[in-house]
Symmetry: C2
Subunit: 532 residues, 2 copies
């Protein structure tokens, strides 16, 4: 991964010149705002604290080079990228440990607990909520625990399950599964860089989660290696034997221990993938259609509804998240409807099933008032489905502040939440900003809202500017009793809102589990739970 | 409910005389074995311990009559029924408290914690695993906390969710929902007597759970009133905000606190219900068919596969769980296939969707080698879907020991588990016994196994006889790494096996939550977690 941005270092996204100009005009960005990252050797990392010898012995492989430390010093939120690009890193792991298996992880954690060394589990480093920030808490030093050597794959063909090592990246896992004729079907935007362990630890949700299920729904069993020992749930389809420990480990974000194995349901690899675009008259009509599909259990495997603003911007940025000339023409023909909201629908599976399910959904889309845009809009979305983070890098080069956040609520309160969060963001960002939103995960009882916002970055004050917007949005979410996160997880950024999410007693219950599994408090301090 | 048996006291199941005779012959039961329960006033309850005044004040309503205590002294497992029918009750609650709302529950729990009074939450009293046994632990006395006054219903039509009080029985909840045009779709065999709170506290699974989801899958939010305060999860479709507290409260069996509200997804009431029977050549073929349906996501809403023995006995007991003359004839016509395994399939929903899904599944059933038995077998099953516990009362009157237990495993190990548990039960029960099994909950990765076993009761030694069979089965399950319970829950009977289920560290994690929410340890002592 690019050391201060997203993905393949050799890949840059070309934005259409007119789109860039339109965006600049809208946000009031001038050519002088453009800014490229510093070079890697210009970054000054904090002086590393010495690693206790016992930890060194337990670890086997210890990486201490500046390069290795830097590459695990930050996730990929906007403030992370600002810190990396400007070379102003206040924290970095003192060393990187890379155990070769679960037994190695256990030895490391035991040593770290004994020596008061904070441990930040590290998969793909793609957290957008400060989940991998090298916080030391009140410990002697802090290490990044790189899980990239835990890459086992063990397939049960009869049960259609696979036990995976946490260090496998999305593409690595999918390519191993492809050879077996199956798929997880888990394709979040971070797919290319994120790992299996991260998917489980953060309750990731993929773009096709309406069809395949969120990652937490795919997981049948977990193994958690904690400082005090190992916890395994049985590899079974379901149990009524008490509270679900699997559901305690899922979402634990490295704060209870390290997820050292994840067993998942898989599906036969789809023989056909069909994506297409539709246009709803407005966001409210679009939501009604998505709700209808979800409540009838006839939702496509991918269903994504953009609001008017996201639709407009997507079209302007065509070639990235938008769609190309032909679809655009079709869209423009519809402009007598004023604006409109793009719906991307996708079906995956056996040919016959795809066509059957598609035809059911199409009838609902039409009945709800949407107009078909055809396959080109869908294919355009498919081509650019992982492009968002690349786009962000380019926009930051122009001098744009760009960030995303997400929440969820019941259908009856989704409109209220949409207005509140949008209003809060616009209030914090000022007039020359773009705040746009989509629904990407639909349930019978509600849906997620995913906001993207752009404004001109205030040079030198980027993080304050970001914090003001982020706080305003989070407070709006809390006031509406929405969730602080649908699939980005908690990390450091959302930890202060966990009191509102869980209540005092809920926090205490989780805190009790943490104390039992990690009595020394070395596991990912400062994340998930608010500091008391 | 009958004080020493199941359901409506005025209802008795008539068994065909020939069926009774065949069963008697098979089990070696003689007319002298027949035994009716003692009368209610012949039951001697243990002397009640005095209730502390502070608890009395907090409770409002306190019921202390022998009748009230007796009716909450036992669940409905075989040993429970033996104790009731013979009038040999070693434990009973010292009093019954009946608060009117969650605030009342909180006051009671606080007082009980302060005064060291054990609390057994009580819904329908239908536990078959000792979940409502009035165990005092090391407390001064023990009360039954009757939740029957917590019966609120609050519907969100747009989101298709409903917040329900825990005291509503299955029929009460469904009749309130029917008036709103929706259904939970949760119909376990205990439906007629069990309650919403119990469904949540035990992770109940209904007969149509393949279609509607298990009860834990229907729940979107919970309110738990614990001795130290109240814990609420947000009413949202999903969150990635850390470990799931909802999944900690679900299945907690009264050991963390009292579930005082349950929010659930509902569905439009089905316009059509279609049940029908099929016959597979043998249990292995049947399992392959059910697996195929589940893995294609084309399983009927109800899918139940009996093994050869259950199929045979069901036919003999026609009119109860079996099916009637016409279907029987059809079956007999198939007898050249030797034996055979009955499959019940059911679809519920809109007319068109039911027919579409049914035709998909029928093609799979045929391709898998099953023969259609038509709708009469399905309707017969439907008529008798709640009859099992009534049948048990009648069999106990004849002198039969009759019990059920259930487990689950992945498809790849289901055959092994089936043979191991069946073998263990037959070994414990001896030659003159019937051990039969069905698959009733199918997943892509595995299924449940539900065993029913009959033998001649050893008069005066019924509980030892039961314990030998139960222990043998549980040990076989543990040895196969299956789950100790798929939907009956843990209660007292399975608590000793929780160490195998969760491991030492898993137990400690749960124990930590319990200590935080119930530091005085008054909540349902002796249940769920093994005594250290």
């Amino acid at each position: 991964m690019k050391w201060c941005g997203w993905g393949d270092p050799d890949r840059r996204l070309d934005l259409p010149t007119e789109a860039i100009q339109a965006l600049r005009d809208e946000l009031g960005i001038v050519p002088g705002d453009a800014i490229e990252p510093v070079t890697m050797d210009a970054v000054e990392l904090p002086e590393p604290r010495p690693l206790p010898q016992a930890v060194r012995v337990a670890a086997g492989e210890v990486l201490e080079g500046a390069d290795e430390r830097l590459r695990r010093a930050a996730g990929r939120s906007y403030p992370d990228l600002v810190r990396l690009r400007t070379g102003r890193l206040e924290t970095a792991p003192d060393a990187v440990l890379r155990p070769s298996d679960a037994v190695g992880v256990e030895a490391v954690l035991r040593a770290c607990a004994a020596e008061s060394v904070a441990v930040v589990p590290f998969g793909g480093g793609t957290s957008v909520v400060g989940g991998v920030e090298a916080l030391r808490g009140d410990h002697r030093c802090v290490v990044s625990l790189d899980l990239s050597r835990l890459r086992s794959v063990s397939f049960d063909q009869t049960s259609l399950t696979v036990a995976l090592g946490p260090g496998l990246s999305g593409p690595e896992a999918e390519s191993a599964l492809e050879a077996l004729g199956v798929t997880l079907g888990h394709f979040p935007q971070s797919f290319e860089e994120a790992t299996i362990g991260g998917f489980a630890a953060t309750r990731s949700a993929g773009q096709a989660s309406s069809g395949y299920g969120r990652f937490d729904e795919l997981v049948t069993a977990v193994e958690l290696t904690a400082p005090v020992g190992r916890l395994r749930t049985l590899k079974i389809p379901h149990t009524a034997a008490g509270p679900s420990l699997r559901e305690v480990v899922l979402g634990s974000e490295g704060s209870l221990g390290v997820i050292t194995e994840v067993s998942c349901r898989v599906r036969p690899a789809p023989l056909l993938r069909l994506y297409e675009g539709w246009m709803a008259a407005d966001f409210e009509q679009g939501r009604a259609i998505v709700r209808d599909l979800a409540q009838r259990h006839e939702a496509p495997d991918v269903i994504r509804l953009s609001d008017e603003e996201e639709t407009r911007v997507s079209l302007e940025l065509a070639g990235t998240e938008g769609f190309r000339k032909r679809a655009l023409d079709a869209y423009l023909g519809l402009r007598r409807r004023r604006g409109g909201c793009l719906i991307i629908c996708g079906w995956e599976g056996e040919r016959e099933a795809v066509h059957r399910r598609r035809s059911l959904a199409q009838a609902r889309l039409r009945r709800g008032g949407a107009a078909a845009l055809g396959g080109s809009a869908g294919r355009s979305w498919e081509r650019s489905r992982y492009a968002g983070p690349y786009l962000r890098d380019e926009l930051m080069n122009l001098g744009v502040m760009v960030e995303t956040l997400e929440t969820a609520h019941t259908w009856s309160r989704l409109g209220e939440l949409y207005r509140a969060v949008g209003g809060a963001l616009r209030g914090a960002l000022g007039d020359r900003s773009i705040v746009m939103c989509h629904v990407s995960h639909a349930y019978t009882d509600g849906a997620s809202l995913y906001f993207t916002f752009f404004t001109r970055a205030r040079r030198g004050e980027e993080i304050d500017q970001w914090r003001a917007a982020k706080s305003a949005a989070c407070e709006a979410i809390v006031a509406c009793e929405g969730t602080i996160t649908h699939h980005h997880a908690v990390g450091r950024d959302h930890a202060p809102y966990m009191r509102a999410e869980l209540g005092e007693l809920g926090l205490e219950a989780l805190g009790a589990v943490k104390e039992r599994l990690d009595p020394a408090g070395v596991m990912n301090p400062g994340k998930l739970l608010p500091t008391p």
